[in-house]
């Protein structure tokens, strides 16, 4: 089928050699842990990177709008930092997902397509709606403040809650609820502080999720 590979441990080569039950238990535990790590699409380090990126991206936007009277929105540099940060995040996540899902097919592949379609719809709908708000004469505080800082998370949260509920996936459901809470919290914070609330909210969510993953791995 494929080129020959040397086994890392001769004792795992061929043959039907029996093993001590304690060694079997250890082998089972080690193999399972190793496989879980290799299939993990949300390793803790990725979540910590996400926390830093989103805190920087939204923190920079908040920094640039502090004290604006009237509110005009984040500066060009802040927008570049925000979109650049999100782009870096998307690239990093794509690389990790590709590596973890390499060779994995079946139902999970279909599930990934459903999530991808949902999130692409969110991004397109979010952008069009922002244009509609601008067209309808909404203030800069709404179009360039409350809306971009909070609504994407309401949209994305709704996707995760819906898919999580349909598929009975608790992590997706929890993530959706957390994203909606962040979106609502930042909406109430107003156009200036919405950026900060979102940045801190996402960073805390990522760090909490990473901590849970670390604890799960150790238990």
């Amino acid at each position: 089928m494929d080129q020959e590979k040397k086994p890392p441990n001769p004792s795992f080569a061929d043959g039907d050699e029996k093993i001590d039950p304690r060694i079997a238990a250890q082998l089972l535990q080690e193999t399972t842990s190793q496989a879980k790590r290799q299939f993990d699409v949300w390793p803790p380090y990725l979540l910590f990177i996400g926390a830093v990126i989103f805190l920087l991206a939204f923190g920079t936007a908040w920094w640039s709008v502090r004290g604006q009277h009237p509110y005009v929105g984040p500066s060009g540099g802040a927008l570049a930092t925000r979109y650049g940060g999100i782009l870096v995040w998307i690239i990093v996540v794509s690389v990790v997902l590709k590596r973890a899902n390499s060779g994995v097919g079946g139902r999970s592949a279909q599930r990934r397509k459903a999530y991808r379609s949902g999130l692409i719809t969110v991004i397109v709908a979010y952008s069009i709606f922002q244009g509609a708000l601008y067209h309808a004469g909404a203030s800069h505080a709404i179009v360039y403040g409350v809306y971009p800082a909070s609504v994407p998370w309401l949209f994305a949260g709704t996707v995760f809650v819906t898919i999580g509920a349909i598929r009975e996936e608790l992590p997706a459901l929890t993530l959706g609820i957390v994203l909606i809470a962040i979106g609502l919290g930042s909406a109430f914070a107003g156009p200036v502080d919405a950026w900060l609330v979102t940045g801190i909210g996402l960073a805390v969510a990522f760090v909490s999720f990473a901590t849970v993953r670390i604890v799960q791995r150790r238990s």
Binding site: M1, K5, A35, F39, S102, G106, R107, S108, A109
Partner: protein
């Protein structure tokens, strides 16, 4: 419970690792032969031999698609295989507890 009562098809290092690796995937998910080989670290000949034994017992199912260099083989743990692994794990625990 004695060592001899453990499922002999699973109680072999290579097959135990194959079953444990496949069991981490959710029900119905398949794994390409090449990725499984990377993870287990067996030669393709050895891996094919062990997979054949597991498939004969209906613990796994393999499906080959394409021809020649473009061919790909997907491996999936069957419900029977998952159940057999769970029974094996329980038996192993009992055995170790009794030692």
């Amino acid at each position: 419970m004695t060592v001899g009562e453990l499922n002999p098809l699973i109680h072999v290092p290579a097959r135990l690792r194959i079953m444990a690796t496949l069991s981490v995937l959710p029900d119905g998910d398949t794994l390409l032969f090449t990725r499984l080989q990377d993870m287990i670290g067996l030669s393709s000949g050895n891996l094919i031999t062990h997979l054949r034994k597991l498939e004969d017992a209906k613990y796994i199912h393999t499906e080959k698609s394409g021809n020649g260099a473009a061919s790909r083989t997907e491996v999936v743990l069957t419900p029977k295989g998952r159940q057999a692994l769970n029974v094996y794990k329980a038996a192993l625990r009992d055995l170790i507890d009794g030692l």
